[in-house]
């Protein structure tokens, strides 16, 4: 009876210790974090440029080196990732070192290339064994651009060939008359 009681007590203590250990481990916050400080929904028209502003923080006690951020954009309509080729020149942004307890402001210029709805997340990582950190989602609502005559191109695009065609007919008529 006493042995049984001891065994149970030992198990409970072990489990408690384990749970406490796990709880401790989970409650240690990561030293690197990334926050978005601009609005979490940005609206615009295809062709617009918007800026997503954020900050990156090293909450740890030691300097973090080789810190880099990456953009990831998903088209929420098609559920497919988007090639960031023309969307941003800052697809990968190398920050370098962040001292302990330091916060650095960051911004990403985004070009709304195509109409649709999108989700942007920013991933930050450091050279040390940190788990990559992810920002909150920033939503983009991009309306289509409708302009059939941007910069008055139509008068030139139609007018120049028409003028040349008129010259051609005048020349032809004059040649017929002279001939």
């Amino acid at each position: 009876m006493n042995m049984k009681k001891t065994f149970i007590t030992t198990c409970v203590r072990s489990i408690s210790l384990l749970v406490a250990f796990v709880a401790c481990a989970q409650s240690v916050p990561p030293s690197l974090s990334i926050q978005i400080i601009s609005q979490n929904t940005l609206n615009g028209v295809a062709g617009d440029f918007v800026t997503v502003q954020g900050q990156i923080t090293n909450a740890g006690a030691t300097t973090l080196s080789d810190v880099t951020t990456y953009l990831s954009l998903v088209d929420t309509g098609t559920k497919l990732p988007v090639d960031l080729e023309d969307w941003s020149a800052e697809k990968g942004l190398y920050i370098g070192s962040i001292d302990a307890k330091q916060t650095l402001p960051l911004s990403w210029k985004i070009h709304f290339v195509k109409a649709g709805t999108y989700s942007l997340i920013i991933v930050a990582e450091a050279a040390s064994n940190e788990v990559p950190q992810v920002s909150v989602i920033t939503h983009f609502n991009v309306a289509p651009k409708k302009n059939l005559n941007p910069g008055q191109v139509l008068p030139v695009a139609l007018g120049t060939p028409i003028v040349l065609l008129c010259i051609l007919f005048v020349l032809s008529y004059r040649r017929k008359v002279d001939g």
Binding site: D86, G151, Q152, V153, L154, T160, P161, I167, L168, L171
Partner: protein, 256 residues
């Protein structure tokens, strides 16, 4: 003396259905390009400088093609239509003849450039690049047209046949244009870079890129593209002079 040949060519070659049709086709190509660049959903969202660069390439590319087609026949037609004999019996020298024909081809280029001006202006609106775009299109286009025309003339004097001249000239233009459209990532090795430096078409496109996309608008900032173009013109001139000497040695009418 060459001015009489030039005037004859303007009247007989440029002030004709054929040339005006070329100008009309150029204008339609520029219209489609310009309209697509400014209104197509994806294309229109490129940086304006990239649009201008694309437009510049189309203008000079179309001009080079038309000029080469014209230059391929402007000399050989005198032999094919049997008008060369009466022309060379007159006091016209071979130099006057070539110079008059050259000016006629350059006049055609000038006409194409004038047609492109409204497109350049409308595409450049708001960018402060209209003047550099116009000036450099004129400069680079003229150097390109001059070099290729001199080369085509040399080929004409050699072949005396418009069909053979045109085929050879188009092959040369194609051979020089294809590498020019490769991206820079495909030009990383030494050989590709040397070819790229020497290629007149590549130099024209790279210079336009430098001016329109990177805003390097002074002549000094583009010397590395303009000097090879000038060298190309000089080389073409040397080849032409050699061809002219050979032509004179064989006579206007070749030994059959």
């Amino acid at each position: 003396m060459f001015t009489h040949i030039w005037k004859k060519e303007i009247r007989g070659e440029l002030y004709t259905w054929k040339s005006l049709l070329w100008l009309l086709i150029s204008s339609l190509l520029f219209s489609v390009t310009c309209y697509l660049l400014l209104t197509n959903k994806e294309l229109s969202l490129l940086d304006q400088t990239e649009l201008l660069w694309l437009l510049g390439k189309v203008i000079i590319g179309v001009a080079l093609l038309i000029v080469i087609v014209d230059a391929s026949s402007i000399i050989t037609i005198e032999f094919e239509k049997e008008t060369a004999e009466s022309l060379f019996i007159s006091p016209v020298s071979l130099t006057d003849f070539i110079l008059g024909k050259l000016l006629a081809v350059l006049t055609l280029w000038l006409a194409i450039f004038v047609v492109s001006i409204p497109y350049i202006i409308v595409a450049s609106a708001g960018s402060n690049l209209a003047i550099p775009f116009l000036l450099y299109t004129m400069l680079l286009g003229t150097l390109g047209v001059l070099g290729f025309t001199l080369l085509v003339f040399a080929i004409s004097l050699f072949f005396r046949s418009s069909k053979n001249t045109l085929t050879t000239s188009l092959i040369i233009l194609l051979g020089l244009s294809i590498p020019a459209v490769f991206s820079t990532t495909l030009k990383n090795d030494v050989v590709s870079q040397i070819i790229s430096r020497a290629n007149p078409v590549d130099n024209i496109f790279s210079s336009l890129d430098n001016i329109l996309v990177d805003y390097q608008t002074s002549l000094i900032q583009n010397w590395q593209f303009i000097v090879p173009l000038v060298a190309f013109c000089l080389l073409a001139l040397i080849i032409l002079l050699f061809a002219m000497r050979r032509f004179q040695k064989h006579g206007v009418i070749q030994s059959e």
